[in-house]
Symmetry: C2
């Protein structure tokens, strides 16, 4: 059986980045990948402006203070003062307003007093400057944030909120990103009924995998396309997969991939002419995973047990999706934590145990969340991490440092 | 000036949980907060079923092996076998199929051989059992995942993908959650123009705060309602705020909250009869932050500089939103990291420096991302954390452990 690391390597080698699409800031572009270099067409800010409410002055007028300067006008943010300031003059200025010509500094309002004086019979406004200012003081220079011609974001950037603001600030409201993948979810099985069925017939199982997968896919920025549950019938499975090819970038099939007499997915894929890259991976749970391709469309066949579905999604499908959308990092966040109890879990396969971790005194601690059977969704629902055990591990002592992978980013990694 | 911790305390004390709403699994419920206890109305699985493809048998028949048992039929997942198994008989069974009456174990197919024998002139199917099985072996018991009457999720749970699957598995497709808040964003300022303006007039600034805030709010599960940019005009600001009250659970106002002559937000809020809980917080950047209330509607007035907007959102508004939506944890994920260079940043206020952290050899390292002015969105866009300096800190030596807060959950926390 293929080892996990080899399987992941083959998988990623056979996955290509999706094409580029044009989109706008008003779409959901958080965490999508930029597909162009962004160069600023202008300076930000686009002119020298005041950092303070105060008075724009010529700094050489303030060498000896206190000194009286004549107020020749006022300029607010968003306005322009068109006259040129002469020696002995000041312009009242608001934060963000452009610096008038002839001024080279701003005195903050707290270091001034306004006065009215009679000059040649006229009542005029003056400002008494109480402290000297240096040239450039309290001025935000044009281009201080971004210079004209500067590359502000590189092709391949995973867009965060500040970067989306930065794009807005230079007027780049239309951008190229890597396409968000459209993903067909085909759930199969005679025993599967819709989650909305109120009274569950004996031997039937509600379709939980569909809802887990939809949620996971949305979280990873993909667009799920949901199919009706397909019974264990070769013709119907083939027809669903064929339809999926025509409308999606990726196909995920849940269940029907094991060795049972009525597991038709492998046969269906073969008859449809897909290329099987591997089947069965040495992980526990989740062994019966298959990776195939139809042209450029990857097909992931996941074992049907709810926990196996989640683990193979997170450990094998998700890395592929991240690579398709242009991301560098393809694994779950991984840290080391101190094990709170002994673990006896013998297997030749790599194991992903459901764990719960927390932070205390800047250290991470972890324990398992209960029964580890592949059908036990309850222990999965309590988990916020996987404890990852390498192949052939059978016993780990309480207090050991173990590798954990963080599942729910919202849990805040042991937030204060 | 109010210290940050006191401000946050006052703020959270004055924020209540939003009402409960009914929703369905097909809505975006990931990371929303469940507002009811969920008790399973049935066992999951709802009957004993086979963990393997193989043969359902009476275990006492297999004490001495090899032994031949007569195959009296077959049962697949989703079907029921209605006859009762007698001693000397076996039923071919598929993974997930209900265990027939009279059987108490399953022999996996690998430990069997099928044979056709002539008995009294008839050709009959037999199975040769090669290994004994114990009672209960390879059987998944009814209720093994969830027992009827068991509380599977508690009121207050922040829903993760596995829990959404668990809800589907018990047929709970309609649930009560805490309402997602609708949030009016009012951006103000004579200098502000739409991000889509191609040629920026001198002294004008494109509205980046709107896009940063929309992105942050969506990420935190809120529903942003965007207003036109309002000029520095008391009547227009009042009218926008009044309209916002009538359609949203929270109002966020960007800019116009400082001490400038044309900063009308405080006056507008006063004239509208809102209650001011505090104005100005000892943080850098972001000092000019105000928290008011109009009845139950919180109003957050954020300073207009792009970085101040982000910091006050993340450190003060977001905690309030998380509390409103029923979450326990209200801070950004916080860890300690090793500082890669000296920091000289003197301030009486608590400081949030833009930083970049990474993991190496299971240790976290951090450095600043460049100029720290409150207008410098570029250094914010490069940051994946804040370096948090307590009040009156002025110098931190390279190599020290500093507190950092993680900004972009997608960065993967130093993923392998």
């Amino acid at each position: 059986m293929l080892k996990f690391n080899e399987a992941k390597k083959i998988l990623l080698k056979n996955i290509d980045r999706l094409p580029t699409v044009k989109t706008s800031l008003s779409e959901n572009i958080l965490n999508t990948v930029l597909a162009e270099n962004i160069i600023s067409p202008e300076n930000i800010p686009n002119c020298d402006n005041s950092q303070m409410d105060g008075y724009a002055v010529n700094s050489s007028d303030t060498k000896k203070t206190p000194i009286l300067l004549k107020i020749i006008g006022e300029v607010k943010a968003g306005d322009i003062f068109f006259k040129k300031l002469k020696t002995g003059e000041a312009v009242k200025i608001m934060t963000g307003a452009p610096i008038p010509k002839g001024a080279d500094a701003v005195v903050m309002v707290e270091d001034t007093e306004e006065e009215r004086l009679k000059v040649k019979g006229q009542k005029l406004k003056f400002v008494k400057i109480l402290k000297p200012v240096k040239k450039g003081e309290n001025i935000r220079k044009a281009g201080e944030d971004v210079r004209k011609g500067e590359m502000i974001l590189k092709n391949g950037t995973v867009l965060n909120p500040a970067q989306i603001g930065l794009l807005a600030s230079i007027g780049k409201t239309e951008i190229k990103i890597v396409k968000r993948p459209k993903i067909a979810i085909i759930t199969t099985g005679n025993e599967i009924v819709n989650a909305s069925v109120k009274k569950l017939p004996k031997g039937k199982v509600r379709n939980s995998n569909l809802w887990t997968l939809i949620t996971l896919l949305k979280r990873d920025g993909a667009i799920p396309v949901q199919f009706e549950t397909i019974p264990d019938n070769l013709t119907k499975i083939k027809s669903a997969i064929k339809q999926a090819f025509s409308i999606s970038d990726v196909v995920i099939i849940s269940a029907g991939i094991s060795v049972g007499k009525y597991d038709y997915v492998k046969t269906a894929l073969k008859q449809l002419g897909t290329k099987l890259l591997f089947w069965k991976v040495a992980i526990k749970p989740g062994k019966a995973f298959a990776f195939s391709k139809m042209g450029t469309v990857p097909i992931f066949s996941l074992p049907g047990n709810p926990v196996s579905t989640m683990i193979t999604y997170l450990e094998l499908v998700r890395p592929a999706l991240l690579k398709m959308t242009g991301k560098q990092s393809t694994g779950l966040p991984r840290i080391k934590a101190i094990l709170l109890h002994n673990i006896y879990e013998k297997s030749d396969r790599k194991q992903f145990l459901r764990g719960f971790f927390y932070k205390k005194d800047n250290k991470f601690f972890v324990k398992t969340t209960g029964m580890q059977g592949s059908g036990i969704l309850k222990s999965m629902s309590k988990a916020n991490c996987f404890i990852v055990l390498d192949e052939k591990t059978s016993f780990i002592k309480k207090g050991s440092l173990v590798n954990i992978e963080i599942l729910n980013r919202e849990d805040g990694y042991g937030c204060d």
